[in-house]
Symmetry: C2
Subunit: 210 residues, 2 copies
């Protein structure tokens, strides 16, 4: 596998393949052709073949793909064959929504602890995960095998908290704060900027009406 | 303006320009060069000039961009010079997070009503927005000037609710449900697939470690 050469565009499509293959698996499908996958996913069959060929290809000419096998393999490529342990900073509605979403845990993303500046929330639980005060963050990370920090806090606090996570050795941040974090080269940041998404929709509405 | 030719990649970057220009505006900056914008946004100056030239360009050679003017103009391009009225379906944590986020309202995205199948939530308010039962959805949309439906409900219910919105004439859906909606060509869907985002992060962790 020449993973180094794979573009972020291809990577962005992998979770979608994984999702559709999961649905096919749930429906009991054993094989799927690139044509069939193309039809349900609304991308061209040639795009699918190209994307999957980045990882060595998984189909036999004329036989299509084995659904279980392709699902497992894409899962491995996505790193879903190992568990990830997360700390979530911000026990507000957004943080609670994420902590309550069971599917993340099903995929191996375990939220180990939640942290919040609001001391009245500390000691409470979201699902079965306890909320801790912010000053316990460093000690918690050092005594748990945490590899992802999730920021569901306002922009103003995000930069400082991100730096605290990085100082603790966290190398991956899932950032919902409305700010682009400046991080060292070896730290990965995946942003979910909800406002950007809503503005993109608004742009498309305005353009359609023009 | 030749808006028809503008790629979704350029459009995806516009909210980010808007965000950075808003920050510059808040800091009292009057002008900004593409070099300076390049430095803070970590994209090349030539990319910035190219992107903005899609809309006719806004700079005078050697003078950089007028921050206020560029902010206003990008806001107009993004359709933020008009108000949007939203219904939000799903008064859970994620829906509440969105309803509570004041910045959407500041940008002209007004949540007019929230709907939920859970009758114990109906009559309650999130911020000042009332939660209504699902069977009032159609009547509410018909008597309010709603242009965007927001789906913060589980995958299983999303397809049916999306169809109800479309039957009421809603032409834009902001979809947080973990499913790709099949909609008529004149209906816009902007997806926020949180799992896809988390898997992308997981892929990048796995690849970095390999």
């Amino acid at each position: 596998m020449e993973e180094k050469e794979i573009s972020q565009a291809v990577i962005s499509r992998l979770p979608r393949y994984f999702r559709y293959l999961g649905d096919l698996k749930d429906e009991g499908a054993e094989r799927v052709s690139s044509q069939e996958l193309s039809r349900i996913m609304k991308v061209t069959a040639s795009q699918i073949r190209q994307d999957l060929n980045n990882f060595g290809g998984f189909g036999q000419q004329g036989y299509g793909y084995n659904v279980d096998y392709l699902y497992e393999e894409i899962g491995k490529i996505l790193g879903l064959d190992r568990k990830h342990h997360l700390v979530l900073i911000g026990a507000g509605n957004l943080g609670s929504a994420i902590a309550n979403y069971m599917n993340f845990e099903k995929r191996g993303f375990i939220i180990s602890g939640i942290f919040d500046v609001d001391l009245t929330l500390c000691g409470k639980k979201v699902r079965e995960v306890e909320v801790y005060p912010m000053d316990e963050l460093e000690a918690f990370i050092q005594t748990h095998d945490i590899d992802i920090g999730v920021l569901t806090i306002p922009k103003a606090a995000a930069v400082e908290v991100a730096n605290r996570l990085i100082d603790c050795g966290i190398k991956a941040i899932w950032n919902f704060a409305h700010v682009d974090l400046q991080v060292p080269d070896d730290v990965l940041v995946e942003n979910v900027h909800l406002s950007d998404s809503l503005m993109k929709l608004s742009y498309n509405i305005a353009t359609r009406e023009a």
